[in-house]
Amino acid sequence: MTDVDRSRAQELIDRARAMGFFDHSPAKVALLEEAVRLADADGTDDDLRWDARHELVHTATFCGFYETALVAFAWQLGKCDENPERWHERDLLWQYKWIISSLHRFPGIPLERIDETTEDMARRYERCGLNQRPVHDVRRRNALFTGNLEATHEHYRLWKATPRDSGADCAACELANEFDYFLVAREQPEEAIELAEPLLDGRMSCAVVPLSCLAQVLVPLLRLGRVEETVAHHLRGIGLIDDRSRAIGSVGDHLDYLAITGNHRRGIALLERRFAWASEGRNLSGRFTFYLGAWVLLSRIAERARKPTRKLRLPRSLPFWREDATYRLDELLAWLEGELRGLADAFDRRNGNEWFARRVTAARELLALDTPISLAGR
């Protein structure tokens, strides 16, 4: 019986690998999760248990299943500490930064725990002879996403002051993070966009970048009156999403864009297609951003609709799911508002500020914008 589990686990890992390094689909995650389960059920082959998790951490992270990655990673890290001769922590450092920079997404994790883990990451980098650049980078991101601007600026300064070494994050990712910093922390959209030019025009890219930049840049560009530029970014950004539920937050940004530019039909199609990623996934900050976008889109539609109801294909798992697919817009908006409030409260309580509540307010303010763009035939 155990032997069956083991060979089956190996088979699943092989199968997942055959899907290719750049495949980050939920299907691949499912294969690897099962491989982990079977390898554990077998329990005799630690190499196999490690391999399955190694693949899983990578795939789940890029797919946006951060919780799955975290749990698999925790096991690996435990192994390293248990037997450092056999399991090398150097092999985990690259992934460590992904894990830590996803922690802020879970309001159930207190800030002190994030700090403790980051300290641990810092120690391990030092022990392996790497500098602290990636550590400053994840600190800055966690600070930014939890709304602590003072710390964000400080960690940006430290990051800038530390040269790249072999442990540094990929250059495209670093640039995307810097873009984020200028856009959100400094509120300097023009500088941010100029900085991100190599990402936006396609000169630089990697497995995750510029997917998010292409989404974040849309509304700021509209605000700057650079309307024409947005079309290509929007189309390209949507194209890159593919089956990566990691992009759920970016989908929210695209929904904002489609709402403001009057492309409501497209907006609805996008909302329907990706709703389950948000409502069923555990990535709560992604869910928050998606719901914000959904709220903006449906509000704009409600403002202009002649009927109080609308046909929508929503996931069955929603508590108010309806067989006839017909929903009252006001009820839907009220539900979204409730969800947003719940999430914002949870995040803000953990962060000790009102950063998320302010994001809700900012979404309301978006409705003041109205920049029709025709995407027909594009």
Binding site: A18, K28, A30, E34, G108, D243, R282
Partner: protein, 622 residues
């Protein structure tokens, strides 16, 4: 303060190009051809009817030394001024004056291509006469790898045009050998609309590219076309292709063909390397960003006029034009598939048998495509692997007229294995949607076929379908149920008693997604410190987190369970339930938590002991 000019070390630049920009010294052939073509294009701006031609001569070296090559064109040539400005100034190009307008005409743009010659030669000699001025004198330009050059007036019999002489350095002999050169000319210039004449050893020049692109030729019949194009594909890629799909796209101005790879060559790792021509000159044989990612079952040969190559000329800028081109090419592939589904289903069938994975990827992306292709896509079911069309008719046949068929599927392979025997015993057709794309496709099936319902099932759901007990049975099982509930509660599992098939199965463990995740957290926490345990609790908890349900369903139809309803000894009952629980976990291939391990170890011993006591009691009776 004085301003200084940057000094350029040509040796350093050449080294940079050779080692970092160009993949092989062979590209000098490409760069020289490109310049010749550009010159002819430029001359046409002055003389629209100018046909143009390019002649290459291979002159063997004396005493077996390396050869000298002559590349001659009857293009626009260069004036004295231009020689200094463009030829001798690195990074300056005559083709960039008005970037956007000219981008659509010339291949060159960076002003560095000529330097590639220095990879094979220490000296470039160019003799040129400008077409701009009828009285222009011919000029001789000599550029050397040490960064010096001279320009002197010279004699040239013929009309305007340019001759480039390359005397290979000894170390580069292999790159200028006659046969190799001929192959390179054909490879890089095979599609050029201007004749390329080649001669070596003083023989009569031959035109190398008389045939042009095979997809632009006219054929007597479809068979002839198919044969010719497939032969071209086989020659190009050294693989016998299954089929071909014509490609055309207005964005990027693309034309060409996509070859359908045989299964052995289509790697699911994606990214085929396509062979791409830019303005009919071979740009690269390794372009991997031209098609959407789902198109990994084809390999293309295409020409494009409207995309911007990177300086190394091996790929394109990831810009909006490329994105639009990719979309348009994706559309072309798609509509071919759609047309074939309608007119030549057998051909499509053959294709899908081999490439269903990418077809499914495409169907997920694109609803219209899904609609067309749906019936051909294969799925794994309790009745074997069958195409969706067949599956739909099976389901439809299984319900009375007017009723809606229900397609049930499991979300994971593991669940499928767990549930399949039950489904089979209940005569349900169940689909395994644990593999790539299947779940998404099935969930969207009602969109393209509103007459059908789909439903994901887990073991738990099937149990809910199981027979309820009648009141008398329920009464009989009440005590067992109560003990089971109590026993399993600490393991975050509830209990039920039902009757289901197969009767050999005493109990079935069912678990939903959330509870499954919770189990993996529990197991990871066993080896983790306090901080990591807290992190994992943090991701598993949080607002709206579903603690998740797991259920152990005991089968009253099973003889052992039947006996258990008659056991009075609570301790014995508890131990039995614990073991049934652990056994069904193992049956479902779930790794055991530490607490469950303990159950297994202690439970077995305890049961043995209880058994011995019971026997011992009997035997000891007077």
């Amino acid at each position: 303060m004085t301003d200084h000019r940057f000094q350029i070390d040509l040796g350093g630049i050449i080294d940079l190009l050779a080692n970092h920009l160009y993949s092989t010294p062979q590209v000098y052939v490409r760069e020289l051809l490109q310049n010749a073509i550009d010159a002819i294009t430029a001359r046409r701006a002055l003389e629209p009817d100018h046909a143009g031609s390019i002649t290459i001569e291979h002159v063997a070296g004396r005493d077996g030394g390396p050869a000298t090559l002559l590349f001659a064109d009857d293009g626009v040539g260069l004036t004295d001024d231009e020689v200094h400005q463009f030829l001798a100034t690195i990074g300056r190009s005559s083709k960039r004056a008005d970037l956007d307008a000219l981008r659509s005409e010339f291949i060159g743009q960076f002003g560095i291509g000529l330097l590639s010659c220095f990879m094979v030669s220490d000296e470039i000699v160019m003799i040129t006469r400008s077409a701009r001025d009828p009285d222009a004198k011919a000029l001789r330009f000599e550029g050397r790898a040490d960064g010096t050059y001279t320009v002197t007036p010279t004699d040239l019999e013929s009309g305007p045009g340019t001759q480039v002489w390359v005397r290979a350095k000894p170390a580069a002999a292999e790159w200028v050998e006659a046969d190799a050169l001929e192959r390179l000319l054909l490879r890089f210039g095979g599609l050029l609309p201007v004749p390329i004449r080649f001669s070596s050893g003083g023989a009569e020049p031959r035109v190398l590219n008389a045939e042009g692109a095979p997809w632009r030729r006219r054929y007597a019949s479809a068979e002839e076309e198919r044969e010719a194009i497939l032969a071209f594909g086989a020659e190009m890629f050294e693989v016998d292709m299954l089929d071909f799909i014509p490609l055309r796209s207005r964005p990027g101005e693309v034309d060409g063909v996509a070859f359908v790879l045989p299964p052995s060559h289509a790697t699911v790792t994606g990214a085929s390397n396509h062979r791409v021509y830019l303005r009919n000159m071979l740009l690269s044989e390794r372009v991997d960003n031209l098609l959407p990612s789902w198109a990994f079952f084809v390999k293309c040969v295409v020409n494009c006029n409207g995309l911007r190559p990177t300086a190394g000329r091996e790929s394109f800028y990831e810009d909006a034009d490329l994105e639009a081109t990719r979309a348009a090419l994706g559309k072309a592939l798609r509509s071919w598939l759609v047309r074939t589904a309608e007119h030549d289903p057998a051909r499509l069938d053959a294709l899908i048998r081999v490439h269903h994975r990418s077809m499914k990827a495409l169907a997920v992306e694109d609803e219209d495509f899904y609609r067309v292709i749906a019936d051909w896509l294969p799925f794994e079911t309790t009745g074997g692997r069958i195409p969706l069309g067949e599956l739909r008719s099976i389901l439809r046949a299984g319900v009375p007229p007017g009723a809606r068929p229900l397609l049930r599927f499991t979300k994971t392979v593991d669940e499928f294995r767990q549930v399949a025997p039950i489904a089979t015993s209940q005569r349900l057709t169940l689909v395994n949607a644990g593999w790539d794309y299947d779940e998404e496709l099935l969930e969207r099936l009602p969109v393209i076929d509103p007459g059908i319902d789909v439903e994901p099932v887990a073991a738990v759901d099937l149990v809910a379908d199981f027979e309820e007990l009648d009141p008398a049975e329920a009464d009989r099982a009440a005590r067992l149920l109560a003990v089971a509930e109590r026993t399993l509660a600490p393991h975050r599992c509830s209990a039920e008693v039902r009757r289901f098939l197969p009767a050999e199965l005493p109990a079935l463990y069912g678990i939903g997604d959330a509870a499954l995740f919770r189990r993996s957290v529990d197991i990871a926490k066993e080896g983790a410190d306090e901080t990591w345990s807290a992190l994992m609790d943090g991701v598993a908890g949080g607002p709206g987190a579903d603690p998740g349900a797991a259920t152990l369903c005991l089968n009253l139809g099973n003889p052992l369970v039947g006996k258990l309803t008659r056991v009075a000894d609570e301790e014995l009952l508890r131990r039995a339930v614990e073991l049934l629980y652990v056994q069904s976990l193992m049956l479902g291939h779930h790794p055991l938590r530490e607490t469950e391990m303990t159950l297994l170890n202690e439970g077995l011993l305890a049961l043995i002991e209880l058994g011995i006591d019971a026997r011992g009691g009997e035997e000891g009776r007077p």
